[in-house]
Structures are given as structure tokens and as C-alpha cells.
Amino acid sequence: MKKEIELYIHIPFCVKKCSYCDFLSFPAGLEVQEAYVRQLQREISASSHFGEGAEVRSVFLGGGTPSLLEAERVVEIMSAIRHSFCVSQDAEITIECNPGSTLRHKFAVYKKAGINRLSIGLQSAENAELRMLGRIHSYEEFLKCYQGARMEGFDNINVDLINCIPMQTMHTWKKTLRQVSMLRPEHISVYNLIIEEGTPYHEMQEKGLLMLPDEDEQADIDAYTRDFLGRNGYQRYEISNYAREGAMCIHNIGYWTEVPYLGLGLGASSYFDGVRWKNTSDIREYLEADQEALSAGRLRREEHQLSERELMEEFMFLGLRMVKGVSETDFLLKFGHSMDKVYGAVLEKYLENGLMVKEGSRYRLSERGLDLSNLVLSDFLLG
């Protein structure tokens, strides 16, 4: 079997920055977008050696708002990828879309370019909450967009939701969940709002202007989410991801199970041959890099070869985010040490207090363990 790799393509543009967002994205004119895509194509071709002897099992166009690009640009990116990499026949190819900036005709073009999965950022079905988040679309616009996607034949759609946001109550959250699950998307991601430094929300929080649900309300919201989605045929397979039968996101699973991936574009993260790095976040520097700089990897920042210790840490704290957990056997095969020898004390502690469960040769977080995952996972850092 050929080695499997994944590609992540970062599109750092959006119409308007949302109040909670700290991803690398910003508004930009058409010219910048075009220049960016040209440079991206160059970077893709300069990175082709990573694909030697490997098959691409997933491509993810994330952002920002990739659907903001003119559809032709997306086609160009896809053909550059196919030109430089061997993309598997049944590869999962996802593009992120925002309802406000997506037009139906783009979906048809995406389809032709081989994109087979859409990830739509809805966040909430309540218009008041959307406004509060600084989103520029309404629930009705999302509906139109979702229907359009279905009509174009997309049969693998993810809907992103955020909970524990200002103004949200258990009541409105239930409504959002009900409405979205009725549409039967294949996949639903539910993220808790995190107030990140440097965002308008952070500023508001510092000033005490942000009314957020308290810990107990949040825990109730989470518990309801798990329960409701479970009853409606969505299986939780990772801390924040739920999927219907057979629709788990291949790309995301790759992140949690140490599949090598190449991040292309501004600020994108990569993991290849045990090395992690990030591209520069400076748009000017990115755009000005010449062929030679691209080939020599001079845009790479924070390049770091993982030690065996760090590889073990990642194996655990990433793998345990998956509901099915980690396998003792895999650990032994990979590192030549038994998991027990390295993590015996921690495992025992959490098995004992019920935050972890052991089934056969697999360790996983219990439901309560998933709720307290930071507490548990931080204990798997060595030294």
C-alpha cells in the first residue's frame, strides 16, 4: 500500500472578520486574491517532492472563507494539486463555505473540480445570535445555500455550529440543534466558543460586556448536545465532531492519528516525517517569495523535529481526542515501549477515577473524561 498523506490549503480571506475569530484571515480585494492563488499554485508545484511515492487521501480547503474566491480560482488550485500530487480516486476533498458569500453556481463548478464535501459555517440557527457573533449571513441564507448544495448533488455536507455564545440559552440552542438535524447533514461539528486574545470578544469580556453561560449551563448544553445528536443518528467520534454512519471526516481523523499532512498557503501547518512547521503568516513575505525560496522551504517557521518523547505525547493527547481512543498495540509497534511502561501511573489514576475506560487493548476517555479532556490530556505531557 502506498503511503497516505493529506493536503491542507489555507485561504486567508473573508468578507469581514467575525467578533470571536482569531484565525489567520482578513478581507482582501480581487487582485490580492488572484496574486495569492498564483503564488499558491507555485508553492504547490514547488512542494511536489513531498508527494513522491505517496497518495493524497484528503484535501481540505480551509480559511478564512475559501468559497469567497471566484470559482475559477478554486479550479486552478485543484488542477495544480492534481498536477503535482497523486490524488487518490476516492479522496475526500472538502471546501469550507460561508452562506453569505456563496452562490449556487459555484457549487456546480466545485463539483466539476472533484470537490466532494462541503463544510458550511452556520454557527447558529438564531439570527440574533448570528448578529451577535458578527456573522454576515442569516439562517435563511444558509438554508438557500444548503438546498443549493444538495441540488448540485453534494452528498457529504458538514455544518459547523458554535455553542456557549452570548445570548444563547438552552432553549435557543435546542432550537438550533433541532433545525439543523432535520436537514440531515452527514456531519455536524459543535465547537464551544473560546474567547481568544486579540478578538473584539476578548475586549468585551475584559470590560465585562460579554454575558456568557456559566460552567453549569455550559455543561448542561454539552450534555444535551451529545444526547440529542446521539438520538438522531449522529455518532460522536471526536470531542467536537459528530457523523452519520460512514461520514466521519477523513481529513480530521488524519490530524488525530498522526497521518502526515502538508499545509500550503499563508500560515498553514504541516507535519511530515516527524517534523512540524508552519508557513509564514506575513502575507507580503508570502507573496514575494520566489521559486527558489519556495523550493528551499524558506517560508517555513517554527520548524521542529519531534523527539521520541514528543511523538509519544502527541500519540496520546491527539489520539485520545477520538472517542475510540488509542491502542496499546499501535503504541508498542510504533515506539517499541509498552504504553504501560511510559504512562502506567497516569492511566491507572484515570481508570480508577472513571475518566478513562479500557476495552480490550484500547484506552479511551469516558464521556465525563471527554468533558474534562484538558485535565486528563495535560497529564500525558511527559517531564
Binding site: 461539528s189 464551544n192 473560546i194 460552567e215 455550559q218 490530524y255 501547518s269 495535560s378 505531557l381
Partner: protein, 624 residues
């Protein structure tokens, strides 16, 4: 031990002043200090005096200050010398040597202040033209007058828009009884009329007296430790002479040395000379390795021809406030020990001894002159030695009279004997003076009442301000009294106290149980009638301070095994990072690392982790 602002003023005017010959006429020496309430401008006036007598511009002064500091730093000398000698050419045409002996203004250092005052012949009283007399002003003036010093007032900050020098002059006359109609009205900031202050120093402060040919008696008023020279003793020669090579004896400690060097103080620098004689202020080094042998207040005399009697007023300094200091990271215990050792070299009044706590591991029980002293030491340990500390609630010394007649000085609540073995207990009482604007008199009286204060008297200073006198138990002051005072007077109250003595009192030990385990480091001694209330508030406070954990945690307060209050910390329900950072694993890891770091900074007590600040909770129990 002078702990005010670091003083490195006008570093080099000894460059202008040639080392003086030895035959200085006593009549041309003035030894004085400046006394003031905090922030009334003591340091600024000192700066100005130095600048004006040293004939340096402000600019030059700044430059030289910096140069000198770097030099000193390279040599590793601690500069604390807040005593400065300068030369002033007065309007009468004569040159005078002015020895400015700076004093710390805080009640904690009362004894040190009194020794510094004993080295002076007069004092300049600085009063803020806007704020008028404050509690420390009074305390300092009385102390200076007690020492027989000539005190003359100076009204500072006349450049402020809110300045009212006439009112303040009247206040000084009414309240203190010092003549103030001719007090210089100055702005130390701009230098306006500072010349008048210098003339007053020359005219009003008496020249020193004392027979230079008598047997040596020199008063130690401070000392610093230098790694090359050993202890540098600051002294005022009252009688006789001291010179290089002379064998000396410390009269109280009995230690004997041979003088290596004598000299006087350039600003921030020591300038050697051949001899110091009666009336002069200077320093002595004698390869003294142990600062304990050179106690402030002791008298230096000659070994071969000793004086018959030491100078009056010496007393052994004792700690008033104790607390446990522990490294947040137990592995840094040796670093904490080294740091305390080094601080002790420069601060004879710091006391410490090793102690062990079930909750906190290895640490030290430390004794301080007062709360400010405690805070200074804590801050220096954290800043200069980069230590992360867990400090337990401060405690005073209780006298425990046991039924077998034995009396214990109790400095750590944990060591309280079984109640059945205790006959009765006594606690230290202070005389407190609180100066407050009249609108807040009511709330301050209420505060004192709550703190078991016994009302003594109240005087109106003028229509808007009053001086309250209360007798208060020291243990009511050391918790959060300052904060409460400030918040209940919107910052307008000032406060001073002196130790009065001990009084029998109904005291109990309040224990705190976290998850049903007693945490020794959280125990404290409390007045029996306040125990329920304190216990309840302590539990509430700890509920706020201790984060939710994997299971429910009861917090209980108990007296002798009987539970008097309880709170419950609910189990943690959620601690999750759901966000996906597009494959940015290092970011995720950083967050986990931060969490792990956070865990390290907590104390593990049984199954429960307790954050450092929780151990100081008892300090924050005031309701209002």
C-alpha cells in the same frame, strides 16, 4: 535597616568636595534628618538639598547617578547608604558640613527610626501644603521631640493648585504646637525657597557637642553588608574618636574587632578618611562577617580604654509578626534558604527558622517587625531571587499560659497546645492613632469597634479632621485592617500604632478542613466571639479561591474538632478545548502545557489541589 526609596542621589559631589582635613570645627557640623508622612516630599527635598549644595545641575546629577549605579553593580556592592554628607556655604560666608541621615517613615521600623533620630541633633519636618498633618507626621514629630531634637517645619508642595499653606501653618501650630508662621514655604519639586530650608538648618539646628578627647562612644544606627568589606557600620560619634587600626568593642554584644577603615558618606559611596571624632557621622568597617554582632542601637567603644556606660536607649529588636514562607515549587527549598540567608546579611531584624507543614512541605517560619516589613521581604524574595512563594496567614506572638505554669510564645498557630493544657492566653495590644476626615469618623469607628478596639479619645484637628485614638489587638490589624481603613475612608485615613503590651484574651484556634482533611497551613488563632463569623467567611472565600475539581469538595471550619461552618465546591463538569486549529498541533500542545504548568503551581493536599493565593485568604475577609 533603611528600606525607603533606593537612594543614589548626587553621586559624586565628593568629586567637588575634597576629602576634608581632620580638624573640622564641631560648630560647622549639622546632623539632621527629614521627617514626613509618606509622599509628603521627603526624598524630593533631600534631592534638592544635595543638588543645591553640590552645585550640580539636575542633568548632571541624573547622569552621574546612573554611571555610579552601574559601577556599584559591577562591584556587587549593595547601596543602602541613605546617609549623605554635603557641604553648604551659608549666607554668613562660612562652610557647613551637613549630614543628612535619612529615616524610614514607617511604624514597623520605629526602633530603627528612633536610633537614627538619636544620631541627629535636629529634624526638618516636611508637611504637604495640600494634605496637612497626617498620622505619620505626628508619630514622627513626637518621636523626634522625645529624642530632644530641634524640629522646624517646612511646608512643601506650594506649587500644587490645592495648596493652602496658611491653613497648614495654623494646623501645625494648633496640633503639634510648633511655631510655623515663619516656616519656609517651598516647592521641593521646583526648588522654590529651598535655599531658606538650608539657612534654617544652619541657624536652627544646634551644632553637635561631645568631648573629642573623652573615651569613645559611638552610636550604631544602621549597617549594610558588603561582600568584600564585610559589615559596614553606620555610626554617630558622640564622644571620643575612632580611627583606622583601633581595637573596638560592641558594648551590648561584646564582639571585638580591629577597625579596618573609617570614612564618611558621599552620596551612594563611601569615602575613607583617617579619623572620625565627636559630633561626626560616618562608617566603620572591621572585617565583620556576622551582622548579628553589630546591632542597631549598640554603642561602639575602644577595647583598650572602654567607656564606663553605653549610650542610652539600646534594646534588642524582636519580631512582631510571623508567617510561614514556602517555595511554591518544593524543589526550590534550598534556593529559598539561600535567599533568606543573603537578605539576613543586610537585615538584622529578619528572623527565620526552618519549619515543616503537612500541607506545604519544607519552608520557614519568618519573623518581621511588622506587616510592611513582611511585604518588603516577600517582594524582595520574589523579585530579586525569582522565587514563587506560598505565604501563610500572618500571626502575632501569643503568650500561652499553660496549666503547669509554663508560658509559651506562640508564633505558629499549629503549635498551640491541647486546650486542656491551657490556663489562659494573652495577645499583644497596640495604641493606634487614626487621622481621618470627619465625614468618615463614623465608619472608621465602626471598623475599630468590629476589630475589638477600645475607644480612647477623639480630637478635632480643625473642623474637617479628627484624630481617633483606639486600643486595638495587634492580630486585628495584621489581617486586612489597612485595606479596610482605606476602603472605608476612600483613602483619606492615615494610621499609626505602637505596641502597648499584652492582655489576656479569649482566643481559639480555627482549623480548616478541605475534603475532610485538616490543612495545617490554613489554621489561625482568632478571638472566640468572632470565630463563627470568620469561619463562615473563610469557607466562602476558599470556595471562591479553590477551583472546581473532579469531585465535590467540602470546605469546613472547625474549633477543636467541632464543625462550625461548611461550604461545598461542586465537582468540575467541563474542561475541554473543542476548537480545531486546522492541524495546528503545537498550539494545542501549548495550551495543554499551560494547564500542566498551572497544576504545578497548585498545592496538592490529599486529592485536592489548592492554589497559592488561597493560603492568604484569611487576609481578605473584610466584608465592606
Amino acid at each position: 535597616m533603611f528600606l525607603g526609596k533606593p537612594v543614589l542621589r548626587a553621586q559624586s559631589f565628593f568629586a567637588i568636595i575634597k576629602p576634608m582635613s581632620n580638624n573640622i570645627n564641631q560648630n560647622n557640623i549639622r546632623n539632621f534628618c527629614i521627617i514626613a508622612h509618606i509622599d509628603h516630599g521627603k526624598s524630593t527635598l533631600a534631592d534638592r538639598i544635595i543638588e543645591m549644595t553640590g552645585l550640580l545641575t539636575q542633568r548632571e546629577m541624573q547622569d552621574q547617578v546612573l554611571d555610579n549605579m552601574d559601577l556599584e553593580r559591577e562591584r556587587g556592592i549593595t547601596i543602602k547608604a541613605q546617609t549623605i554628607r554635603t557641604v553648604y556655604k551659608a549666607d554668613d560666608g562660612q562652610e557647613y558640613i551637613l549630614n543628612l541621615i535619612d529615616t524610614p517613615g514607617h511604624v514597623d521600623f520605629n526602633y530603627e527610626v528612633s536610633r537614627a533620630l538619636a544620631a541627629c541633633d535636629g529634624a526638618v519636618l516636611v508637611v504637604d501644603a495640600a494634605q496637612g498633618i497626617e498620622a505619620q507626621t505626628l508619630a514622627n514629630v513626637y518621636l523626634a521631640l522625645d529624642h530632644g531634637l530641634e524640629v522646624f517645619p517646612v511646608i512643601n508642595k506650594i506649587d500644587l493648585p490645592s495648596a493652602d499653606p496658611d491653613r497648614v501653618a495654623a494646623e501645625i501650630e494648633d496640633v503639634i504646637g510648633l511655631e510655623a508662621h515663619d516656616a519656609p514655604r517651598i516647592s521641593a519639586k521646583t526648588g522654590e525657597n529651598v535655599h531658606d530650608v538650608l539657612e534654617m538648618i544652619v541657624k536652627k539646628i544646634p551644632a553637635p557637642t561631645g568631648d573629642p578627647d573623652a573615651r569613645l562612644r559611638a552610636l550604631i544606627f544602621d549597617s549594610v553588608y558588603d561582600q568584600y568589606k564585610g559589615v559596614i557600620v553606620f555610626c554617630r560619634i558622640k564622644e571620643g574618636r575612632i580611627r583606622k587600626g583601633m581595637p573596638i568593642r560592641m558594648m551590648a554584644t561584646g564582639a571585638e574587632y580591629d577597625v579596618v577603615e573609617v570614612g564618611y558618606f558621599g552620596a551612594g559611596r563611601f569615602i575613607p578618611c583617617d579619623e572620625l571624632s565627636a559630633g561626626m557621622v560616618g562608617y566603620v568597617t572591621a572585617s565583620i562577617k556576622n551582622i548579628q554582632t553589630t546591632e542597631v542601637g549598640d554603642t561602639i567603644t575602644g577595647r583598650d580604654e572602654p567607656a564606663a556606660e553605653p549610650l542610652p536607649g539600646y534594646k534588642k529588636v524582636t519580631s512582631m509578626v510571623y508567617c510561614g514562607i514556602y517555595p511554591a515549587d518544593g524543589a526550590r527549598y534550598p534556593d529559598l534558604r539561600d535567599a533568606l540567608e543573603k537578605l539576613k546579611l543586610n537585615d538584622a531584624s529578619l528572623f527565620y527558622e526552618p519549619e515543616t507543614s503537612v500541607a506545604l512541605g519544607f519552608g520557614f517560619r519568618c519573623g518581621f517587625l511588622g506587616l510592611l516589613h513582611l511585604e518588603i521581604i516577600q517582594e524582595r524574595l520574589e523579585r530579586e531571587y525569582n522565587l514563587d512563594l506560598v505565604t501563610t496567614a500572618p500571626s502575632v506572638i501569643y503568650k500561652v499560659h499553660k496549666t503547669n505554669g509554663e508560658v509559651i510564645d506562640l508564633t505558629n498557630p499549629t503549635n498551640l497546645p491541647d486546650p486542656s493544657l491551657i490556663d489562659y492566653m494573652e495577645e499583644p495590644i497596640v495604641d493606634a492613632e487614626i487621622m481621618v476626615t470627619t465625614e468618615f469618623v463614623g465608619s472608621i469607628m465602626k471598623l475599630c469597634q468590629e476589630r475589638r478596639g477600645v475607644y480612647k479619645s477623639m480630637e478635632y484637628m480643625e473642623e474637617t479632621r479628627a484624630l481617633l485614638r483606639y486600643e486595638l489587638p495587634l492580630n486585628e490589624i495584621i489581617y486586612d485592617f489597612f485595606d479596610a481603613l482605606k476602603s472605608r475612608s476612600r483613602g483619606y485615613a492615615s494610621f499609626d500604632y505602637t505596641l502597648k503590651g499584652y492582655k489576656p484574651s479569649k482566643l481559639v484556634k480555627l482549623d480548616i478542613l478541605v475534603n475532610r482533611e485538616e490543612v495545617d497551613a490554613l489554621s489561625f488563632i482568632v478571638f472566640a466571639d468572632s470565630a463563627y463569623d470568620r469561619g463562615r467567611r473563610m469557607c466562602e472565600k476558599l470556595k471562591e479561591e479553590i477551583p472546581r475539581q473532579q469531585f465535590e469538595i467540602p470546605i469546613q471550619a472547625a474549633i477543636g474538632g467541632k464543625i462550625i461552618a461548611r461550604e461545598t465546591i461542586k465537582a468540575l463538569r467541563k474542561d475541554v478545548l473543542a476548537k480545531c486549529y486546522g492541524g495546528d498541533v503545537s498550539r494545542k500542545k501549548k495550551l495543554l502545557e499551560k494547564q500542566k504548568e498551572g497544576k504545578k503551581r497548585m498545592r496538592q493536599i490529599g486529592n485536592v489541589t489548592i492554589p497559592q493565593q488561597a493560603f492568604m485568604s484569611v487576609l481578605k475577609l473584610d466584608d465592606e
